[in-house]
Symmetry: C2
Subunit: 138 residues, 2 copies
DNA sequence: ACACTACTTTAGAATCATTATAAATTAGAA
DNA sequence: TTCTAATTTATAATGATTCTAAAGTAGTGT
């Protein structure tokens, strides 16, 4: 009744054992059409609701960090209070709704290519990220 | 022997009493030609060295947050571990050296104007920030 | 199926930047 | 100088994240 086999392969191929905790988290994170932006706290709450068996908070942290290390998640820092993770691991830009603290992906075509006209000697560019903060129209 | 009068005015005009702690921090932060990017930890260390009288950590936090509220400092979140503050309160972009965790201002002319081709209904853009992560050339 | 070992999960403790508290001090006004 | 509100301060509390070390599990080989 599940397409778990896909996730099992995904995990195995990156040297992670497909435990039921990891599979549960995989289904929750990667069985989506749209990008998912979440904090560990969000994820923890959702797992509590949508799952019968409990997954310890330590495991959620461990798993999310493993997934990040394997390149399945991207971490986004927008404020010190909490770290956001992103199922869209490509280079992309974001809207941040400062009223709701919600992140929204911008598509390639939504932002002109950024051209940086300065370079630092001995340094090379690793990434260019745009954060567009938006708020309610009065 | 000081141009404290400038800072005293600055503080008074925004309803902050010019205490010696605030003046000390003003001198350290605003008596510079270049932008200063710092964490509270940085500031605390510098104050310990460059000052004879001690300023409590709580006061450093209070003061930096007051200055931010008054618009004399800008907060920049680049990772969850620490919050950076910026004496350049204009809208501007940054290099982040991921080897040293150092922030460097980009000038207006260093980055083409960013054009966002998407808008969210009911929302207006409050700011657009570019973060260019750089690392050592091999 | 069984045993073995490395990997994983887990509860709880530890960490650490930040925030809150509430008592002592100080600045500005009268 | 006196009075009051603003400020400073030491200290405790908070809370997200990381650490620990003990118990459980998956994969391998027999
Ligand atoms: Mn913040
Ligand atoms: Mn981080
Ligand atoms: Zn995203
Ligand atoms: Zn800056």
């Amino acid at each position: 009744m599940e397409n778990n086999s896909i996730f099992i392969e995904k995990l195995r191929s990156s040297g992670l054992r497909p435990t039921k905790q990891r599979l549960e988290i995989c289904k929750l994170l990667f069985d989506r059409k749209k990008t998912f932006h979440f904090t560990i706290g969000d994820l923890s709450k959702i797992l509590k609701k949508e799952t019968n068996k409990k997954i310890s908070l330590a495991t959620i942290y461990n798993t999310v960090h493993s997934f990040k290390k394997k390149g399945y998640l991207k971490e986004i820092s927008i404020n010190r209070d909490k770290s956001y993770f992103d199922t869209n691991t490509s280079n992309h830009h974001h809207f941040l709704d400062i009223d709701t603290n919600e992140l929204i992906d911008l598509k390639k075509e939504d932002v002109d290519k950024i051209k940086i006209r300065k370079n630092l000697p001995g340094k090379k560019i690793q990434s260019i990220e745009v954060l567009v903060k938006v708020e309610n129209n009065n």
